[in-house]
Subunit: 195 residues, 2 copies
């Protein structure tokens, strides 16, 4: 940088000045030493203002770099926030839908005694499947339970039983279906666990 | 600003210099005129570097202000994007659910001939209402159609009829239900319009 070069010159000349004081009567008649004196004196006088300006430039430079760093951080945060908002956008609606889905599944657990009921049930099975497909498209899926090992992160134990036909700590029955939204638990499965 | 004051002094001294050249042999013996010469010479020599530094400071200042303006704009955009993402977050899941909802409504349009079918239909009506309530909570609502004036923004005319019992340009029949998501048309209602 030109600033640095200049500063070096200056410090040099400053030493020269200390070497031979410039206002001694004897000197001024002598060409060379006078020009030398003029130059060093000039640099010496101008130095404080130049130094001040160079300091200001340095301070403005670091202020600019700080602002740029803040800008980059803010952009990165905004991007991450938006990604999370997109990833879990279905959470609110899906959560509200779960109760209707529970009722739906309860209502179709019947043995049809007529053809009409049977065909209505078949239609409802298709509708139910359609709802689950729509949820799955947004990353919402039922949590597996019966026959799986109990996992406190996704299963909620509401009863304990002793059942020889199951291993210990395995889920014997599901009392309410649980759902995941991608890597999030939308609702844990309420289960009966074998001791 | 101190810079301005300084610049004035300098231009003055520059004139002085032109008035009396400082390296004339005659002068150097004379104290006063020599000091004067030294000062004006000094200012004259230092001026180019000082001007350069001051120009750089000005340029850095406007560069900082430009970056700050970009920063503010980027923050405002990010906020608006996030607000829109939140407002319409249910759009994707709701859109996927519409077909299942159509099938649901078609399937329950039957006349029950047994008590079992009747009670199953009642259960399904409740489930259907629960689904619509969940959608409504997220701002998704059916578009009114039959008996309303045709509105190309929310209604899609698939047939025209002539029916004395309706006014002109009024919707006579709804062939597929439409839905709004807040101020957005999720799906227009497909309708039969009176000429």
């Amino acid at each position: 940088m030109t600033e640095d070069k200049k500063t070096d010159n200056v410090t040099d000349t400053v030493e020269e000045i200390e070497a031979e004081p410039i206002f001694a009567e004897g000197d001024v008649t002598e060409e060379g030493s006078q020009e030398e004196a003029l130059e060093s004196f000039e640099m010496d006088q101008a130095q404080p203002e130049i130094a001040e300006l160079e300091a200001k430039i340095e301070e403005m430079d670091s202020r600019y770099l700080r602002l740029q760093a803040d800008f980059d951080n803010s952009r990165r945060r905004a991007r991450l926030d938006m990604e999370a908002a997109q990833k879990y956008r279905a959470q609110s609606l899906a959560t509200d839908l779960l109760q209707a889905l529970d009722n739906f599944e309860r209502a179709i657990q019947i043995e049809p005694d007529t053809e009409q009921t049977k065909s209505l049930l078949q239609g409802m099975d298709m509708v139910h499947k359609g709802l689950l497909d729509a949820l799955k498209k947004e990353g919402i899926e039922p949590i597996e339970a019966v026959g799986k090992e109990f996992d406190p992160h996704i299963h909620q134990a509401v009863m304990q039983v002793q059942d020889e036909s199951f291993d210990s700590n395995v889920i014997v029955e599901e009392l309410q279906k649980g759902y995941m939204l991608k890597d999030r638990v939308l609702r844990p499965a309420m289960v009966k666990v074998n001791e």
